[in-house]
């Protein structure tokens, strides 16, 4: 199991160290898909990258908490063990398939590099494995693709290559950071299906980082919603969709064009995510929340402020009755 335990990360802004991820806990089990959802600037990519201890050279520092792979802390490992885990047991699929590939090396040399780094194979064996990996991700003319360079492939093809590379050493966990955001909708569906097929076949634990609840609906078993550095709601995907508890979750779901009636105005969340260092003292979402109450502003809200089984929400006012459509107007008479 891959476990993030009370992880807090700081970044440097104008020479000051400020908290960007605040006491985040997540658990990813083999064979399950966990969605980490939130807007840009909520700290979800920082959290995901911290698992492989990326971002440290860019000034991201851990101030407390731990990340455990089968009970072993990733922060106490030496460089060599860490290198074996990166790509070997946990691998990553990035959002920008162009920047993640090196433009001056052929696809073949980039895939075989990963294979030979982690598996004891000679050139021929590595080549054969690369061909098989590309076929697994739906590229039939694999031999041909291996000779090509990243710029001659389309965005969808590049993303397939990155997924193939992530699978190269048969990892147990994959972290996919917005894997389909840069792609066409039709290609997106294919990549989703591909990722899910691989995930099931190899019993992978998949952490999906995204801002899009549509993707969560398609892929995830469990969901953690992140806002301004904190997990504000977590639970099973069906619970979250059927009974979203936190106002932020509901607002984020309401923005999706596919659930609102064509032609009508879309629901929006006014304002922006406050940057690290400018988080409100009480509930982080208080200044954008349509249901805010005076005591929301005063003290930090516990992650378990609302709890129902394994479904948690960091909100003081979840238990207010809400009709099935989640219509906020019916909830005004609660004080």
């Amino acid at each position: 199991m891959l476990e993030i335990r009370d992880l807090s990360l700081t970044v440097s802004i104008d020479g000051r160290r400020v908290e960007a991820v605040s006491a985040v806990s997540l658990q990813l089990e083999a064979g399950r898909v966990l969605g980490l959802v939130g807007e840009s600037g909520c700290g979800k990519s920082l959290t995901a990258q911290a698992i492989l201890r990326l971002g440290e050279h860019q000034g991201v520092e851990k101030c407390c908490g731990d990340i455990l792979l089968d009970g072993n802390s990733l922060f106490e490992m030496d460089d060599e063990s860490l290198r074996r885990i990166r790509g070997g047991r946990i691998s990553m699929v990035f959002q920008e398939p162009m920047t993640a590939l090196n433009p001056v090396f052929s696809i073949g040399s980039q895939i075989t590099e990963v294979i030979r780094l982690h598996l004891d194979m000679d050139k021929q064996q590595a080549h054969a494995r690369a061909v098989q990996l590309l076929r697994d991700v739906g590229m039939q003319d694999a031999e041909q693709i291996l000779k090509q360079y990243p710029d001659s492939l389309s965005g969808g093809m590049r993303q397939r290559v990155l997924i193939a590379m992530a699978m190269a050493a048969d990892p147990d966990y994959i972290i996919a950071d917005e894997p389909t955001t840069a792609l066409d909708v039709s290609v997106q569906k294919r990549i989703i299906t591909l990722l899910l097929n691989l995930q099931k076949k190899r019993n992978l634990g998949l952490l999906l980082v995204t801002h899009d609840f549509g993707l969560v609906a398609e892929m995830c078993d469990d969901v953690a919603v992140m806002y301004a550095g904190q997990i504000v709601e977590a639970g099973k995907v069906a619970d979250i969709f059927d009974h979203p508890a936190h106002p932020y979750t509901r607002a984020l779901m309401g923005c999706r064009p596919e659930i609102s009636e064509p032609g009508k105005s879309l629901t929006v969340i006014s304002g922006q995510v406050p940057p690290p260092g400018q988080w409100p003292q009480g509930c982080h979402f208080a200044d954008r929340c349509s249901l805010v109450q005076p005591d929301c502003m005063q003290n930090p809200v516990e992650a378990t402020a609302w709890q129902q089984g394994k479904h948690l929400a960091r909100c003081l006012y979840v238990d207010i009755p809400v009709d099935a459509s989640g219509d906020e107007h019916d909830r005004d008479h609660r004080t």
């Binding site: 807007e39 840009s40 076929r135 697994d136 991700v137 739906g138 590229m139 039939q140 389309s154 965005g155 969808g156 093809m157 066409d184 909708v185 039709s186 290609v187 997106q188 569906k189 294919r190 299906t193 591909l194 899910l196 097929n197 801002h211 899009d212 609840f213 549509g214 993707l215 969560v216 609906a217 398609e218 995830c220 995907v237 069906a238 969709f241 607002a251 984020l252 923005c255 999706r256 064009p257 596919e258 659930i259 609102s260 064509p262 032609g263 009508k264 105005s265 879309l266 629901t267 929006v268 969340i269 922006q272």
Partner: protein
């Protein structure tokens, strides 16, 4: 009279750069016709490489068509150039997917937004230009106090608002929007779509809205034209295209929309050999043949023209029900 009319326009690109003689030709847009009326939104949808961005650039006259005719407000601009074209550009303006990429990072926001005024309103003083910028930024939901800041100090959603302000400042009749919300977070995307609708109502603008995302398009379009391999394969009122698509490609695009709830999942084990998304185009007849579940022998000799019902297919979906 249409604010924008495109008639039988084609554009072919030659790949290969300096080795042009051996380069391959790519027909990006083929015999395309559509028109846009004042105050309406026509969405052009299709996947990457379908020619929708080329269409936008042809309509803007950023590219020159190989043949055909482009009219702005009834005036033929197909072969206009230089000063004559520049002076007419205030009729039609463009908003890009990532406006930030096209701005000078060392110019203040107000200067960036005001650039169009240098050509179209050279009579204004600096203060008048600043006032007009402030007013336009306000219309786009931005506080004018930020106008002396630089582009990198704004978020993605704010930059898109600035991009819209920059297009609006010369008071165009048509906005060409090329994937204006594709790079944005879902929450910001909703804000920008609502803003575009509000501006359209206030100003009576016509939008040519280019997108690959049908769920976005459903919120803004009055009419839809679906493009595949440089041609329009289906067009019609938005609601009708969504409710009763005829062309199998339109169906495929509709099916690719994200689902609203996990209970709608339909992930079968897809055999990768049957994944036809990456297939090429047919050399003759209907270009969609290699990916089409209903392709038949007569498709290979089909001329691909739209019929009177607004679709180009010999075996439309309505036949298979």
């Amino acid at each position: 009279m249409s604010v924008l009319a495109v008639t039988n326009v084609s554009k072919t690109f030659t790949a290969g750069g300096m080795f042009r003689a051996i380069g391959k030709e790519k027909r990006a847009v083929d015999q395309l016709s559509f028109c846009l009326e004042a105050g309406e939104t026509l969405a052009i949808v299709g996947e990457s490489g379908s020619g929708k961005s080329t269409t936008a650039r042809l309509a803007m006259r950023l590219l020159k068509a190989d043949n055909g005719r482009i009219e702005w407000n009834g005036v033929d601009v197909t072969s206009l150039g230089g000063r004559a074209l520049r002076q007419r550009r205030n009729h039609i303006q463009m908003v890009f997917q990532d406006p930030f990429a096209s701005w000078n990072p060392r110019m203040k926001i107000w200067e960036t937004v005001a650039e169009g005024l240098r050509v179209h309103r050279s009579d204004l003083s600096k203060q008048q230009r600043r006032d007009l910028v402030a007013e336009t930024l306000h219309l786009c939901g931005l506080d004018a106090s930020g106008m002396d800041r630089y582009p990198n100090q704004f978020s993605g959603g704010q930059r898109q608002r600035i991009g819209i302000a920059r297009a609006l400042i010369v008071e165009p009749a048509v906005l060409v929007l090329d994937e204006p919300v594709s790079a944005l977070d879902v929450s910001v995307q909703a804000q920008i779509l609502n803003l575009l609708k509000d501006i359209q109502q206030a100003k009576g603008l016509a939008y040519l809205f280019i997108s690959h995302d049908l769920s976005v398009v459903s919120h803004i379009a009055d009419r839809i034209a679906v493009m595949f391999d440089g041609r329009i394969v289906e067009q019609g009122r938005a609601a009708e295209v969504f409710e009763h698509p005829h062309h199998p490609y339109t169906r495929a695009l509709l099916d690719a929309r994200p689902i609203a709830h996990p209970s709608q999942r339909q992930h079968g084990e897809i055999d990768s050999r049957e994944d036809k998304t990456g297939e090429g185009m047919a050399a003759s007849g209907c270009a969609y043949q290699p990916r089409c579940p209903y392709a038949a022998s007569d498709c290979a000799v089909f001329d691909g023209r739209l019929n009177s019902h607004g679709f180009a297919c010999l075996h439309p979906l309505t036949e298979h029900k």
